[in-house]
Every structure is written in C-alpha cells, then in structure tokens.
C-alpha cells in the first residue's frame, strides 16, 4: 500500500513538474537587448522535425521574417538546441527596424518551412521598457535575484478598477513559485508602508522568506496588494488588487 502511495506521488510529481518552456536568455530584456528564446516542441506537431522556422508577431505587427507562410526565409531558420529543442536569437529593434518605444511585446510559433506543421501560439512576451511607464504594480529593482532585497510597490493613481483606485493597502501577498512550477511554502503576507502620496510598498528577501524543496530553486513570484475601502453604507470592506508576477534574474 505504501509503495503504491509512493508510486502515485512520484507519477503526480512527474506530471506537474515541468521546465519553463519557452525559456529566454537573458530572462528579462528590452527591445534593444539581444535575446535567445529556446522552445521545446516535444508533444507538438513539430516533434521530430529536422528543421524549424520561427513565425513571430507582436504589438508592432508581423515581423519582417514572416514573408510567406508556405516558404519561410532562411533568416527565420531556428538553431537546434537539443532533441526537439530549437532556439532563435534576435534583437527586437534590429528585427523590426523600429525604435524601442514602438515595441512592447511579441508572440511566436515554430513551424516547418512550408507551414505543413506548427506549434500553438506562444506569448505574448513583454519587452522591458526603455522609457519609464508608471504602473499600478511595480517591483524595485527592475531585475532581482532570489537573494536580493525586493520591494513591491502599489500606486493607486494607476489603479484600473474603482476598488484599486480607492483602496488603502494594508498588506501585500507574495506567492513563490519554483523552477518546476510548484508553489513554495505558503503565501507571505507583508505589512505595507506608505512611500508616496499614492504609493504603498513592502519589502522582503526571497531566499530568506522561502526555502525551495531539495533540487529546486526559486524561479518567480506573484504579488498583489490587499486593503480596505468604504462601501456606500460607510462600512469597511476588504479588497484585493490584481496580481502580477516577476521572474528572478540569475546573478553571477
């Protein structure tokens, strides 16, 4: 019975454990940075293919490499990166021939040259901004490792919903995720401090607050802010902001 339980646990772990796919190097990048995306096509119609081509599009429209679905150009050919793995290196501004301010995100799929097989759409994936764009949720510093001091910020001046615009934050909730996509420990609730007219902040050190299981590492975290607003009757009600996630940068 015990062996059966272990077997079920083992199979379950295998089912839920999945590497990040696609992966990007560096993990975060601006439209002016060169980035290499690597995609494992195992389990897609592209599995076993001897060559692969990228089809890429985004907020700026189709990439100039999307010349013909049935005859992709050599410039769109991807590089073999292992069994069923293909990589493609590009710089957003160079690929599109556009200024960085014109590029905010992109999607892609992997296909055969003649378009007879393809993967599903991947994305959208965001370019890091080159100009500061104020947002309701912001992390400081922009790139953080698991050992760094991480400050999450909530600016209600940029709230989207009425509750986000009216709320007085009291706590921030951090949910940690490891490199297998599993939650690490329990969500962490941090008391916020007011750091601006409309800004509240909370800080933590990921590797101090969370311990990944053996063989795993902290990969990303999600955060949201919780607070209160007064309802039309004057009663205090609890509200929560939307949630966003941050992937850790690997440091030397």
């Amino acid at each position: 019975m015990k062996k059966l339980l272990y077997l079920i646990l083992f199979i379950s772990a295998g089912l839920f454990a999945k590497a990040q796919n696609p992966s990007f190097s560096p993990a975060t990048f601006t439209a002016e940075d060169q980035v290499t995306l690597t995609f494992d096509v195992t389990g897609t119609p592209m599995a076993g293919s001897s060559e692969a081509y990228i089809w890429l599009w985004g907020n700026a429209g189709d990439s100039p490499l999307n010349t013909s679905w049935t005859n992709s150009p050599d410039a769109a050919r991807m590089t073999a990166a292992g069994t069923n793995k293909w990589s493609f290196t590009f710089t957003g501004t160079v690929l599109y021939g556009l200024p960085p301010a014109s590029l905010s995100n992109f999607n892609f799929l992997v296909k055969k040259k003649d378009g007879s097989a393809q993967t599903s759409n991947q994305g959208p994936f965001n370019f890091d901004p080159l100009v500061f764009t104020p947002t309701m949720l912001r992390v400081f510093p922009g790139k953080v490792g698991a050992d760094d001091v991480v400050t999450v910020n909530f600016d209600k001046a940029y709230g989207v919903t009425a509750n986000e615009q009216r709320m007085t934050p009291t706590t921030a909730t951090i949910t940690m995720v490891d490199d297998a996509g599993n939650n690490v420990g329990s969500p962490l609730n941090l008391t916020v401090r007011k750091t601006g007219e409309t800004i509240w902040s909370a800080s933590y050190i990921p590797s101090v607050s969370f311990t990944p299981s053996t063989g795993r590492k902290l990969f990303k975290f999600k955060y949201k802010f919780n607070g209160t607003v007064l309802d039309p009757g004057g009663a205090t009600i609890t509200v929560t902001s939307s949630e966003t996630e941050v992937t850790f940068t690997t440091m030397q």
């Binding site: 190097s25 080159l130 500061f132 922009g142 760094d148 001091v149 030397q252």
Partner: protein
C-alpha cells in the same frame, strides 16, 4: 641718444625679469596616507542603500532606496586585521542582519596596497569581492563598501548595494 637709452632700458628690464623668475622650492610632502592601516579594526554598518543600475542609466524616477531600516542591517559588523602592515584576517558578525557578506572569516587582500579599490575576501575556495567607495582617512571616518550584483546572462551590473560603516 634717446633711442639708445630706451634700448638699454628695455634690455635691462628683460634681464631683470629673466633673473627674477626662479622656480619655487618644493616643500617636503607629508607622509603618504596609509590606507590599509585606516581599514584596520571593527566596523559597524550604519547605512545601506540599493541602486537599480538600469533605472539609473535610463534616468527613471525610481533609482535608489535606503534599505537600512527595512531589515536589521545595523547589526552587521566586520573586522579587518593587519599582519605586519599588510592585509591579514577578517571576520564578519551579521547578527540578525542580512548576510551582505556571506563569508564569516578568512583572509583579505587588496588590488593595490597604496590606493586599493577592491577588497577580496577569501575563505577556503570561496571568495567575495567588495569595492571600496571611500577611505576612512582625513576628515572622513566612514568606511564605504559596495557590492555589485551582476546578471549572469549579460555580465552587466544590474544592482549595486552601498554600505557605510562606522569605526567601533
């Protein structure tokens, strides 16, 4: 006659100027500052700041925050010992502070004894490099160390932590 007098006066003036210009004698220099000696002793962390180097380079509004009071950084102490005037051993006592230097003891060395920029801390096979941001000599009694966080994929410094210490 007058022309001869003027020419003689001019020559006299020029020769006076030439002989009057003498180089000043160099004064004796003070003894060179002994930076290594100034580093010796136990130092207590008094201030910690975190700089987003990318935001700083781009001129973003949020570039730096003071993290001194966010965590008990002021518990952190480091001791530099000299060995016959040269860098010797070091110890760190973090207390409840985040471990801004992970090594707890070992030896330290500098890249230039006369005007060091980097201090390398070594313990067995492990090393950590900190950058000196200011010498505790002259009017300043503050030791400033900086630790850079470098992105593995690009080799770029993305975060810098600056720490100020007071002599104990």
């Amino acid at each position: 006659m007058q022309k001869l007098f003027r020419a003689g006066l001019m020559m006299l003036s020029v020769s006076f100027l030439l002989t009057a210009c003498q180089p000043d004698a160099h004064k004796e220099l003070d003894a060179p500052r002994n930076i290594l000696a100034s580093l010796e002793g136990t130092w207590k962390l008094t201030k910690a700041t975190q700089v987003d180097e990318s935001a700083k380079a781009k001129g973003f509004p949020f570039k730096e925050i003071d993290i001194t009071t966010l965590f008990p950084y002021t518990d952190f102490r480091i001791t530099f010992n000299l060995n016959a005037g040269a860098p010797g051993t070091f110890t760190t006592v973090p207390g409840a502070s985040p471990k801004i230097i992970k090594l707890t003891s070992g030896t330290w060395s500098v890249d230039n004894a006369a005007s060091p920029k980097n201090i390398t801390l070594t313990s067995g096979a492990s090393t950590e490099v900190t950058t000196l941001g200011g010498y505790p000599v002259g009017a300043s009694n503050t030791l400033k160390l900086a630790v850079a966080r470098v992105e593995a994929a690009t080799g770029k410094t993305v975060i810098t932590y600056s720490y100020e210490f007071a002599k104990q």
